[in-house]
Structures are given as structure tokens and as C-alpha cells.
Symmetry: C2
Subunit: 173 residues, 2 copies
Amino acid sequence: MDVRIRAGTKEDCKEMQRMIMELAVFEKMPDQVKISHEDLERDGFGQNPFFECLVAEVPEEHKSKEGHTIVGYSLYFYTYSTWEGPVIHVEDLYVMQEFRGNGIGKGLLSKVAELGQKKRCQRLNMTVLDWNKSSLEFYAAKGAVDLTETEGWHFLRFHGQSLANLANQAPKD
Amino acid sequence: MDVRIRAGTKEDCKEMQRMIMELAVFEKMPDQVKISHEDLERDGFGQNPFFECLVAEVPEEHKSKEGHTIVGYSLYFYTYSTWEGPVIHVEDLYVMQEFRGNGIGKGLLSKVAELGQKKRCQRLNMTVLDWNKSSLEFYAAKGAVDLTETEGWHFLRFHGQSLANLANQAPKD
């Protein structure tokens, strides 16, 4: 299939928000999605953007059943390791069900990897749910290591009120 | 003890690099540290810095056995959740052994939380090794949730040659 992978723009945010929700439904946590396309527009395309993204686009004649031509996306950003320097972190990688098996996921992932290399990254990080075996196998087949298994890294979070409580105890300058 | 927590500067990078190595020794992975203080100076204090940091400083009369007055640090950066927006990620939080038990770790963590709140973050994320029970208890006592335990998130990485292989397969523009 003729698929174009390109940088996402402000105009893609509505389609991105639709797919963010589709991914959250797949991950069985749709209630956790609080983001709107306006939020994405502000946070990704204003001054000091928090993220960058790629979208996968098919020609009009291959559009989805519901009429979508944007059929996949990846949202990523740059972080830092105090052991190895710049890191590229893939927050989301998604391809619509009816377009899977065409190499679109691999195209998005390898494009993000290429962007990371250009910024001297030695690592591409991501988190995946332990029951999502198809994704774990997809990434493992391409060379990813599960560091929770091999080194014992656990993922911790302060959220909402816990974070506010912590902030309220900050020492005054 | 009279401890000052302040933003780290370029001039603190040598002391930061020393403590990064001390932390890696504690985490039993000192061989993984490839970073120099020059790398930290370039990556944190040039154009488009990859990270920000805080240091904990004690007065000269309370300096460490080896004569250090910078006795702790936290390195953090901003990331993004497609469900909840801006996130603050704590990459490292460290206090030298002989200065523990004085609230310095809590001071650093709560200060990072405060900075996160100012950028609208609803989440403070971090990763911790599963055998590091004292840190896991420290964070849990302050309200952190272990999402690897509760939701099953695993931490994956493409590293070095695996990342290069992936990048080499990127579709051409």
C-alpha cells in the first residue's frame, strides 16, 4: 500500500486525538483520556512544544471505512540519560486495525529511530502493557529489550493530589 | 542542617558527574556511565537543553569528609502524556550517604514537584529498580504508585546497534 509517513502538523490534531482515544480503548483505559485536540494544538505546536509527532497517511482511494486518510501516528519526545546522554522516547505508536500488517508500524518506528540518531540518541525508550503480547513481540522482534524483566526497572508515578501534596511541601527559596 | 536547594548551573556539572557515578555504583551498573561533565555542560546548558537540575548545597562548615559542599542533586525534564498532557520526569534523585536522613531527598523531590505544577503537570514519573527497597518505600510513603505492579507497564528499550539497525530501515522521504 502507498503510505506516506510525515511530520504531524497542527491540522492533524483532531485525527490524532481520535486515534489517541482508539489506542486507549484498546489498552482498556479510555476513562484516563482527558486531552482534547485543542490541548494537543497548544502543547505540541506553540512555543517550547512538549512533543513531536509523525502521522501515516494513505491516498484517498485507500481511506478507511469511516473515511479517514490519517491511519496511524507516533508521538515522541527527547529525554536524557545521565549515563548515556540524549534519549528518544516513544510515548505512542498506533496503526488503525484495518491497516495493520502493511509495515506502517515499522515505518513509523524506524522513522522515529532515524530522528533519534540525528540527535545523538543511543536509546529509544517506551513503555508497554504486560498483557499486550502482540506489541511486546513486535518490539522484541526488532531488537527491543524488556528492562523491567532484565534489570528490574519499575515505573512509578505521583499523580494528581499526591503530586500537589508533594509540591506544597517544597522548601521556600 | 542548613541545606540550600537551588537550580544547578554549568559550574555544578563536575560535582553532578561525580554524584551520577556514585549513584550508578549504588545501582550496581557503574560500567554503563559514559557521560562526562563536558557532556552535561553541553547537553544541559547549551541551546535547547535536554534537561534541568537542582542541587543541594551545605555550608562550608558542614562539608563532606572529602570536602564536598554539593551533597545531592535531582535531574529532571518535561515529557508528555497523550491522556493527561504535560508530565515531569525525575531521571535521578540522589543524596550522598553521609547526608541522608536530613530531609534533603524530600526537599529535592518536593521542589521538582512544585516546578512540575507550575507547568500544569498532573504526573511526576520515575523508574526505580525492584531490589532498591529503601527508595521504593521512600517514594511509596510520599504517595507514589508502582504502575508496573498496578497496571502492568513494562519498560522497553532499543539500544545502540538495535537502534541503528532500526534507523537504517526508515522509509525515505
